[in-house]
């Protein structure tokens, strides 16, 4: 088990299609997190940014871009890219600096202004890029993969489209209570069923949208937190950033095929399950101790998969757990009390950070109408394209 780092501050820019640049969202989130921590930007020794593409610039930027917008002050800077796990890797980089003594207090920021419609690869003929290949050779969008997982669950476990719709109903009801969410309207099962099929069996309201958004955290050493009068802060106890293990036998974004299991025995857990297990092991905490979880609900069906991968229930029992109400607010283990991506949409570099913001507010008891009563232990789970795990375990 490693030492804790303190979460001194959390902040967000409301998500939605605001038509502004990512720098504005990230800077607003950063200022909110600093204010929440009771710190000035000049007090910050290090900034870590979760990367995004800057329009017109052939590459990824983040840390220094936010530092410039906040005012150059000579802080240590880092930028990290790990697709949807970028935010978790940014948290992990900040945590490593704190635990190694390189920095006392670190600002972590992620923000993006997402394009409309399907995510798509960068331009050009890029035959060495699996993301380019799956679009060019198969026309396989992200919802293609969500549809494959959903259909597989129906065949294996008897999940139904009505089960999937109930995930949206649950998350929309929670998002309606969250001032930072993009969608703040309850959704009925009938509305899900009436929305257009995107990738059979999933409909428009089963699949998360793309959004603009920003999220930020101020992390510090426990010693720094004590000096600042924060005797009992929310603490990050584990960050999982694992890769899959060979052979990876679940067809995964953006790949056209799995690894072969013909000659090497596959690991006895999937990649997604290993992401959560790594966090549990590092924290010395088990799934039965969780008060809540924030999981990566790119689709409604995928949220059910996460229940099993987080070991909130047995394999194939995700829909049963949902039907019992266990994952709703007031249930045994609320999942996506924030409203999840169903209510926020995707702003890739920000979403793993936003999950930790929600844990922070929940563990402090500051989550308002969507508060999980008595929350003490929370887990986030996420997955970055190209083999990046992402989970953060926080305690109070």
């Amino acid at each position: 088990m490693t030492a804790d780092v303190a979460v001194l501050g959390a902040g967000m820019h409301p998500w939605g299609k605001w038509g502004r640049g990512f720098v504005e969202y990230g800077t607003a989130a950063a200022r909110a997190a600093l204010a929440d921590a009771g710190l000035e930007w000049r007090d910050i020794g290090s900034i870590v940014g979760a990367d995004t593409v800057r329009g017109g610039y052939p590459g990824y930027v983040a840390g220094a871009t936010f530092a410039k917008a906040l005012g150059w002050q000579g802080a240590r800077v880092a930028s990290v890219y790990a697709a949807c796990a970028s935010g978790a890797q940014a948290v992990n980089a900040a945590r490593a600096q704190i635990l190694s003594g390189l920095a006392d207090v670190v600002l972590v920021v992620g923000a993006d202004a997402a394009p409309k419609g399907f995510f798509r690869p960068a331009g050009g003929e890029r035959h060495d890029d699996p993301d380019w290949l799956r679009f060019r050779v198969l026309g396989a969008t992200n919802p293609t993969y969500f549809g494959l997982y959903a259909r597989r669950r129906m065949a294996l476990y008897g999940d139904t489209p009505e089960d999937f719709a109930q995930v949206k109903v649950k998350n929309a009801a929670l998002g309606a209570l969250n001032p930072y969410a993009r969608y703040r309207k309850r959704v009925s099962a009938e509305e899900v069923a009436a929305s257009a099929v995107v990738a059979d069996p999933l409909r428009l309201l089963d699949i998360c949208a793309t959004s603009d958004g920003g999220a930020a955290l101020v992390l510090s050493s426990m010693e720094f937190a004590r000096r600042r009068g924060a005797a009992d802060p929310v603490r990050i106890r584990a960050v999982s950033t694992v890769t899959p293990r060979y052979p990876n036998t679940v067809l995964d974004l953006p790949d056209i095929a799995t690894d072969s299991a013909a000659t090497v025995t596959p690991p006895d857990e999937t990649f997604r399950a290993s992401i959560a297990r790594a966090a549990y092991e590092e924290a010395g905490v088990g799934p039965e101790e969780l008060s809540l979880a924030e999981v990566y609900d790119l689709s409604t069906a995928l949220e059910l998969q996460w229940y099993e991968d987080l070991r909130l229930c047995g394999e194939g029992e995700g829909a049963k757990l949902l039907r019992e109400g266990a994952t709703a607010l007031g249930g045994r283990i609320p999942v996506n009390a924030s409203g999840g991506l169903a209510s926020f949409g995707e702003a890739v570099p920000a979403q793993a950070i936003a999950q930790v913001c929600e844990l922070t507010w929940q563990l402090r008891g500051d989550a308002g109408d969507r508060q999980v009563a008595g929350a003490r232990v929370g887990l986030t789970a996420n997955q970055g394209l190209f083999g990046h795990g992402s989970a953060v375990l926080a305690v109070r």
Partner: protein, 141 residues
């Protein structure tokens, strides 16, 4: 467009992977650099035609036009196609591909047998891009 991913015509059509001479791991799309089995010291990677037939692992379709680099004619109405992930038994590998034109999700079930056939991905005035398609066995159209 993709070099040496498939070969042959009619009943001789095959997807082409590679196999490691040291650990016998199979790769598709072909791996020509180094064996990716972390427990393998590394062997020669030789071309390997994959099984023609497999079983449906899962399937879906694409009701909206995918963005580029997928090529489709924006002048024509969008025709959804099915996508099938197929598990090849002897290789124990799952390979995604489009279904042959005319096969919809209503024709498919998880576990049913399909076979690989040559297909056309798209064409313009200069080029016809060939590809592989999955077709339920017993369907000849």
């Amino acid at each position: 467009m993709v070099t040496d991913w498939f070969t042959g015509d009619g009943d001789d059509f095959r997807l082409l992977g590679t196999r490691c001479s040291a650990c016998a791991s199979v790769f598709f799309p072909r791996e020509d650099g180094h064996c990716r089995n972390p427990a393998c010291g590394g062997g020669e990677l030789a071309e390997l035609p994959l099984s023609r037939r497999g079983r449906v692992w899962s399937y879906t379709d694409s009701r909206y036009r995918p963005p580029s680099p997928y090529v489709s004619d924006p002048e024509l109405p969008w025709e959804p196609y099915a996508l099938i992930a197929v598990e090849l038994e002897s290789e124990r590998i799952v390979v995604l591909g489009q279904a042959v034109p005319g096969i919809t999700v209503a024709d498919l079930t998880v576990g049913m047998e399909v076979e690989v056939v040559p297909g056309v991905l798209g064409e313009d005035t200069e080029t016809t891009w060939t590809t592989w398609h999955w077709r339920p066995t017993g369907v000849t159209a």
